[in-house]
């Protein structure tokens, strides 16, 4: 049944485009003004804050200190992290130095089928990002084996670590610079803020299904 449908549909489409070709207009390139590195940080920060993301710009060597401060203020029990990633390793090191009053580190130890119950109970997660987009204000995540997809979605607080040097002016620039078309992973997500809805009388409410809080640390090399 399926193959027959496929053949029928394609046959009609081919006939339609052959009998009456669609005229295609020339496509102009959209002008872009590339931003300087400080402008990129500023623009991304402003856009993300406007949609209620907490953004901190911090010296690269101090970021775990800031992370601890942020977490202590919130009094959380568990923090999901990804061992084996640069971000995960630094978290581990920082926690080893001073474990008290910090949330317990939890790793995504098993497949979702066996980890689901625990995952839905975790308070916060820290993940890396592969970049940011200044023009629209968003971080880019490429989840992988070490850093699974649901880390940035299920826990109520998501902390994303962004290297300042990896902020692009536009989404198009990011796609080109990193040659995405050649190596799309299982999943890419752009995230601009905490989960939100305006479905009731257009009143904004946060944390409807995903994280209630998104915290972005922008790491600057001094």
């Amino acid at each position: 049944m399926n193959d027959a449908s496929r053949a029928q549909i394609l046959k009609r489409l081919h006939a339609a485009t052959q009998q009456q070709p669609v005229d295609t207009p020339e496509m102009a390139d959209l002008p872009v003004e590339l931003l300087t590195p400080p402008q990129k940080i500023e623009t991304l920060k402003a856009h993300m804050e406007a949609v209620r993301t907490e953004v901190h710009v911090v010296a690269a060597r101090d970021w775990t200190k800031l992370l601890k401060k942020i977490l202590k203020k919130r009094d959380l029990k568990t923090l999901l992290y990804a061992p084996g990633t640069p971000v995960g390793s630094e978290v581990q090191k920082a926690w080893a130095e001073e474990p008290e009053r910090l949330p317990e580190l939890v790793s995504y130890k098993d497949n979702i089928e066996n980890f689901k119950e625990q995952l839905f109970d975790i308070d916060a997660a820290v993940t890396s990002t592969v970049g940011g987009i200044a023009e629209t204000g968003a971080v880019i995540l490429w989840p992988d084996e070490k850093e699974p997809r649901l880390m940035s979605l299920v826990p109520p607080i998501h902390i994303a670590i962004l290297q300042a040097a990896k902020i692009y002016t536009t989404f198009s620039e990011a796609i080109q610079a990193e040659d995405w078309a050649q190596k799309m992973p299982t999943n890419v997500v752009l995230i601009s803020g905490p989960s939100k809805t305006a479905d009731i009388e257009l009143t904004l409410a946060f944390g409807v299904h995903g994280p209630k809080e998104l915290i972005v640390l922008i790491l600057k090399d001094e």
Binding site: I9, L13, T17, D144, L153, S172, V189, D199, I200, E201
Partner: protein, 476 residues
């Protein structure tokens, strides 16, 4: 929807116009959307450039639609996404059911998808003993109340918070009445988290499918779409076949146009790009991903060089927001899945003119929709065309039920009109008769209809021709 004639549009319209609450809800919401869109697209010339790019991208898609769909299929298959083709909504529904059955699955969570509405998927699955849960907050609300979306972006916009509070209180066990949006939101979060946790299959729509890489792009603010496509072990995506784009580089401008037009956002909270099922070593994500490509009349729309522009639509909903008719009658009055301007051109082509052709008449042709449409669909032109198609006035009439309104008396009438206006002598005689007797024509039949809301024109005692002659002006 198997009957030939559609819902009673006139009656629906009168009912909607008399519902003060409904009109207030829509007026408020649409005003708000218009404002937010304006803020994001404040630079007119840049917006125009962007819309031109959007139009060009979609036209390029249409020019090679079959090739792109074949490429999409090939790339998806290579990435482990299973592709299915459906000619009709019945077939698409059955494909969903077959996948569910293969997994002995009885629980489905859904992200927002207008195509699934077009399929009537919920009713179909429920008849087959499958629990279907809408997880977008707006969809969840109307599902509880057994209603249809009244807007393609904000489906529950016709309800105010008192009404929603009442629905939650009535339909959800142990839920006290509360009008606080934060609390209503928290109730939905609690219930739906459980549903995501337990679901065996997740279903979603598709905003853009990239042929070059086999990537399905979904935009959303809530996170329910990501939940539905990541937590359950199986993901089924359904798309109309016009949703394909050529390359990844097309996504950024299309995304800007979509989010800016739909909700006045620079970007949504999430842009979710899915290129494959869970790979070995990966710990989450569905192990199986299916893509159902639905035709349901679209391939026939492509055959018409003018009407095919309908297929450029990215379902942003901004033509609804800017439509003076939609704003006053709301989405339900149209009686079809797609309301507003896009519905007026799409439903008649999918469902046939006999059933849905009347929709094309519900427009003052004010052009507001065409001015804001991010892909520059000339909706009013297409409306006029569909009106003509109903009478099949000399066209190639590819539209379903084309010419169904054609009637002998009218045809003769228009022939006479044509003759009068091409033969000066007959014209002169006709004018004379009308200036004497025109006012005395009895208001019956179509004239009665026509003069219900309009004053009948008064025929001048002398025709323009005569006046000009008398003034001594030379006729060119």
């Amino acid at each position: 929807m198997s009957n030939d004639t559609g819902p009673n549009f006139q009656q629906n319209v009168s009912r909607a116009l008399n519902d003060k609450q409904l009109r207030k809800n829509f007026k408020f919401a649409m005003g708000n959307f218009i404002l937010k869109r304006k803020q994001i697209f404040s630079d007119e010339s840049k917006t125009e450039q962007l819309r031109q790019v959007g139009n060009a991208i979609k036209r390029r898609v249409l020019s090679q639609l079959p090739q792109l769909l074949e490429e999409l299929e090939e790339k998806c298959t290579r990435n482990g996404i299973q592709v299915h083709w459906a000619e009709t909504t019945i077939e698409a529904n059955q494909q969903v059911l077959r996948i569910m059955n293969a997994h002995q699955a009885t629980r489905l969570v859904k992200g927002k998808s207008m195509v699934s509405e077009e399929m009537g998927l919920n009713e179909f699955l429920q008849q087959n003993k499958i629990e279907v849960v809408e997880t977008d907050l707006g969809e969840f609300i109307i599902q509880l109340n057994d209603e249809k979306p009244s807007h393609i972006i904000v489906p529950a916009i016709h309800k105010n918070k008192q009404q929603i509070a009442e629905i939650f209180h009535q339909k959800l066990a142990d839920t006290p009445y509360t009008e606080k949006v934060e609390e209503l939101n928290a109730i939905a979060r609690r219930i739906l988290r459980q549903k995501f946790f337990n679901a065996q299959v997740g279903l979603s729509g598709v905003n853009f499918a990239v042929a070059e890489t086999g990537t399905l792009c979904l935009v959303e603010n809530e996170g329910n779409g990501r939940m539905s496509t990541t937590v359950p072990p199986v993901h089924i995506a359904v798309m109309g076949l016009e949703k394909v784009v050529e390359k990844l580089a097309d996504i950024p401008p299309m995304l800007r146009l979509l989010t800016g037009s739909a909700t006045g956002q620079l970007i949504t909270t999430y842009v979710n790009m899915i290129t494959s099922a869970r790979k070995p070593g990966e710990k989450d994500g569905p192990k199986e991903v299916h893509l159902i490509i639905l035709d349901n009349g679209r391939s026939e729309i492509l055959a018409d060089p003018q009407l095919r522009q309908t297929l450029q639509c990215i379902r942003c909903g901004t033509c609804l927001n800017h439509c003076p008719v939609y704003t006053r009658i709301g989405g339900h009055a149209y009686g079809f899945v797609y309301p507003g301007p896009i519905g007026k051109i799409l439903n008649p082509q999918i469902e046939g003119l006999k059933k849905a052709g009347e929709l094309a008449t519900a427009s003052s042709l004010c052009e507001a929709c065409a001015e804001v449409c991010p892909v520059k669909i000339p909706i009013p032109q297409l409306l006029r065309r569909l009106r003509n198609e109903s009478y099949a006035s000399g066209s190639i009439a590819t539209v379903k039920d084309g010419g169904y309104k054609k009637n002998v008396i009218e045809t003769i009438g228009w022939k006479g009109w044509e003759m009068m206006n091409t033969h000066p002598h007959i014209n002169a005689i006709g004018n004379k008769i009308m200036s004497r007797l025109g006012a005395k024509i009895p208001k019956i039949g179509p004239l009665k209809q026509w003069t219900r809301y309009r004053t009948a024109p008064k025929f001048a005692p002398k025709s323009l021709h005569q006046l000009v002659d008398e003034e001594g002006i030379q006729d060119e």
